[in-house]
Symmetry: C2
DNA sequence: AGGAACATTGAACATCGTTCAATAAAAAAT
DNA sequence: ATTTTTTATTGAACGATGTTCAATGTTCCT
């Protein structure tokens, strides 16, 4: 239902009807809708993880090109799973509620894909520095995808967005390597 | 009220009490809450615009350093106006409702600040290309700020985030210039 | 003053997530 | 096999919330 109507279109009553139980029975499976969204998010993150893994190992094994492929794969996944991908980020729960551990773990795994190629590219950096840089790189690409897929502003055709991402990732990596020398 | 409790904490009844009128009277000022959020967003965008303008003209006038200052200013503004800044991006309205023109215009102005220094840096590029690159740069910085200020994941101290942004912006610009030569 | 245009009110409506007493089903115990 | 205990399910009810609207004020022009 999230995939079809977005996270705002997920209603407990519709869901109950779809799975064939009473409205209240949903709360036997899940504490509240927050958890429901998080559990769907967990599945989405695992599928995303697989997509990035595939991109990581396919094609030119140079760190440069591997990282570009991962960025493009991220963009493609977001475009093909738009509402599910959005649900990962735009669902805010009450500030006092704490994320369960399994949800935090899911999110952390993403940076793993970036870390390894980046370590090959920047051998002088410490693991801590690499972790931070990997997160920054991910965030930068995420921003490009997020604003690029936003229909509210100028709609960018997907191929153009992919080119932009590839170009800027290459520039970032060039710049990072050059500065490290 | 958005600044204090976030966009999800904005309730028409609370608002009516605060401004001293009946609940229904809110709808004399505004068609619905979507418009209300957009109007607050417009004010926020104008304040953000001023902050970026100030950063643009203060200090070292080299395009490199100007763009770094703008990125840092964006980060600082987001940190200091967290909920208002979030309201700009995380509020989704029904897909069929169209954004009013004034709201779209407001958003476009932001890229202006990036365009000029970028044009100095990449004199070979056409205005169209520059516009696209400006948007990509903005999006990348936006992503770093957005995920960096997210408390759900590892909380990054603000000074560290500023350093990361400055570093990655410099790397991006270095890379863009090097590739252009 | 009279009346037309506009503004304000607050009750009512629809839609949510969530809770819970009542009930049914299943499992365990005798 | 029957009773008892535990568990699962139901759907009505509750409280919030955005939105509407008939009734009631208010303003202001002639």
């Amino acid at each position: 239902m999230i995939a079809e109507r977005g996270v705002a279109g997920l209603k407990t009553r519709d869901l109950a009807r779809e799975i064939g139980c009473a409205n209240g029975a949903v709360y036997n499976l899940v504490a509240d809708v927050d958890e429901l969204v998080l559990r769907v998010g967990s599945r989405t993150l695992h599928r995303l993880d697989k997509a990035l893994s595939a991109a990581e190992s396919a094609g030119d094994p140079s760190p440069h090109e591997t990282l570009v492929r991962i960025a493009i794969a991220y963009c493609d996944f977001a475009a093909e799973n738009l509402e599910l991908w959005r649900a990962l980020f735009e669902h805010r729960m009450a500030a006092d509620k704490i994320l369960p551990d399994w949800s935090i773990n899911d999110q952390m795994q993403l940076f793993r894909h970036i870390y390894h190629p980046l370590a090959l590219l920047l051998p002088e950096r410490s693991p801590e520095e690499l972790g931070i840089t990997a997160r920054s790189l991910f965030s930068a690409v995420h921003g490009m995808v997020a604003l690029g897929l936003e229909q509210k502003l100028v709609a960018v055709p997907l191929p153009a967005l992919r080119n932009e991402i590839a170009g800027l990732v290459r520039a970032m990596l060039d710049g990072l390597v050059a500065r490290a020398e």
